[in-house]
Symmetry: C2
Subunit: 337 residues, 2 copies
């Protein structure tokens, strides 16, 4: 059970677990492989909640014979049922915790690293992202669907090492997305050009932070990287939504991810990392507000190695200290690509 709470000073929203029964000891648990009893492996479908979606060759739901399988999170932080309500608590504000939590199981065989999959399997995972976003956008309570991946304990991964991504549908557009949307909108109002298209063009021209480049996608080490070896993956063609990606582009993205994740693995010795899809919000419930989004926003993927442990400085300021220049990171990655 949870509540979504607003910090009235900084306008930060926090999902707070109000159930006190799972007092965390997660800072002492270490990652275990669990291959022998992994609930995500093919043949153990009975150990998970019933699937909400799967790519199957005609087999029955919740049995073997799937390529990618999507299940509700067994311990969801947000509840799918109910209406959104806002309540005052003295000076504070509270919203009830409405949303969806799903897990995308990315392969039937127990595999821990994305780059070990073949391109066709990664393509199917990326198509599943597409399907879940489209499906969850039909629910007008959900303003934003975030898909992300945690690899390794230091990146917040659970103890299940079997490859999977997380899907969270949220009742509000998160602050970090809002910052990107409004930054992009301001730039567009001033220049009448997409800020991300300009960044892509400059990075292709200067090459110094360009990590990977094909006809559909570019991968760059961003100029103001917050963390060592942080990467951004952009479609080269302007596009505000992940959902209009062609199959050909999706195949390119699968190959780009496989190569780039493998390069990080080699250079940083299997680093913990997060992969985050920053797509546009659900436009159906608020068409007018985002009238210009098709022109000014450009979807992308963040890949964030978590080899730097944030200190009181980052938490105290919102500034970041990055001791590895992105130009150096790009060079290192290109050496192994």
């Amino acid at each position: 059970m949870s509540e979504v709470r607003r910090d009235i000073v900084t306008d930060t929203w926090v999902i707070v677990e109000t159930d006190t029964s799972h007092f965390p000891k997660d800072h002492v648990i270490e990652m275990v492989s669990m291959e022998d009893e992994c609930p995500f492996c093919e043949g153990r479908e009975g150990l998970t909640p019933n699937e909400v979606y799967a790519i199957r060759d005609g087999s029955d739901p919740n049995t073997s014979g799937w390529k990618v399988r999507v299940i509700p999170n067994k311990a969801p932080i947000l509840r799918i049922e109910g209406e959104l309500t806002r309540t005052g608590v003295g000076v504070y504000d509270r919203v009830n915790g409405i949303g969806a939590n799903e897990v995308i199981i990315e392969t039937p065989k127990h595999t821990a690293n994305l780059f070990e999959l073949d391109e066709q399997q990664i393509f199917l995972i990326l198509k599943t992202y597409n399907q879940r976003i489209s499906d969850l956008h039909k629910d007008l309570r959900f303003r934003y669907v975030l898909i992300y991946k945690n690899h390794g304990r230091l990146a917040g991964a659970s103890t299940i090492s079997h490859l999977h991504s997380e899907v969270i549908a949220l009742p509000a557009t998160p602050i970090r997305i809002k910052q990107k949307l409004s930054g992009a909108k301001e730039y567009y109002e001033y220049k009448e050009r997409c800020i991300f298209c300009d960044i892509i063009q400059q990075e292709i021209e200067t090459e110094e932070r360009l990590v990977y480049n094909d006809p559909h996608f570019v991968v760059i080490a961003p100029y103001a990287s917050r963390f060592p070896f942080e990467l951004l993956i952009f479609p080269r063609r302007h596009s505000y939504t992940y959902n209009d990606m062609t199959d050909a582009a999706c195949k390119s993205l699968a190959l780009a991810l496989k190569k780039v994740i493998r390069a990080l693995y080699k250079v940083l010795d299997n680093p913990p990392y997060n992969l985050i899809l920053h797509n546009s919000p659900n436009l159906i419930p608020h068409k007018d507000y985002w009238l210009t989004i098709k022109d000014d926003f450009h979807w992308h993927i963040e890949v964030v190695p978590r080899i730097h442990r944030t200190s009181g400085f980052e938490w105290g300021t919102g500034f970041y200290i990055n001791r590895v220049a992105p130009e150096f990171a790009a060079t290192k990655l290109k050496e192994v690509l």
Copy 2:
């Protein structure tokens, strides 16, 4: 050598190290005690840069006979010399890395936990905070002085376990402070009351998130805690600046810190944590802009246990998931206080 870079999309500033010689391997280094060769221990003053300040009983600088000692950081990320300059880099913006980095060595004897010190020693540390803020505020290039403490590797601490705090003077007010300042200002414009005073009053009345309370200070588990067992320490009397704290109040704060940090140690088994002083910015270089700050801002200390490893969700959204309700955290801490 470093640059301060702005992410033009999100308006996040990043200090980027441009020297590529220290490629980090810090995710594999574990905390070592180093008592035998600790450069912060009394008698090894020759192993550190020359002190910028110390509390001494008449002994010479950079010799034994001190209670608290402040030195420049040996590997500063910002340089103290030079003028602030802003440069365009294609679509990007750059500022050179001007600022001060200091280390406050908090005890002459090798000690790892703040609560092991006596109250008088903690009082001297807190007075040293005061002295460093006042001194650095004289440099009009410095807009904000942040003092913080990293305890344990997961909280970003270095390998030196000897008790110390970090001081960073920055050429701009950080975004997290700005968020707090503007939230406080908006509330004040609407209600003509300090938002923090209202929070303190409500928390004392309801008691459910109140952890500690004396005539000078209150410690609460904030309503929208981002992390399990996050705490805020406020002076009860409205005050926008740490520097007008009386000695009597400072003694109360020393006792409060000792008790609260010990309580966290007991309940969470020596957790990694950050302690962050959120004081008002340097008002001297921009008096007009902060005209109302004396009324609307209220300094405080954040104590943030780092037992939760942030995942792609937090980084992707700026939302936080906290699986321990602050009411529960307050109850647990009060049991051992």
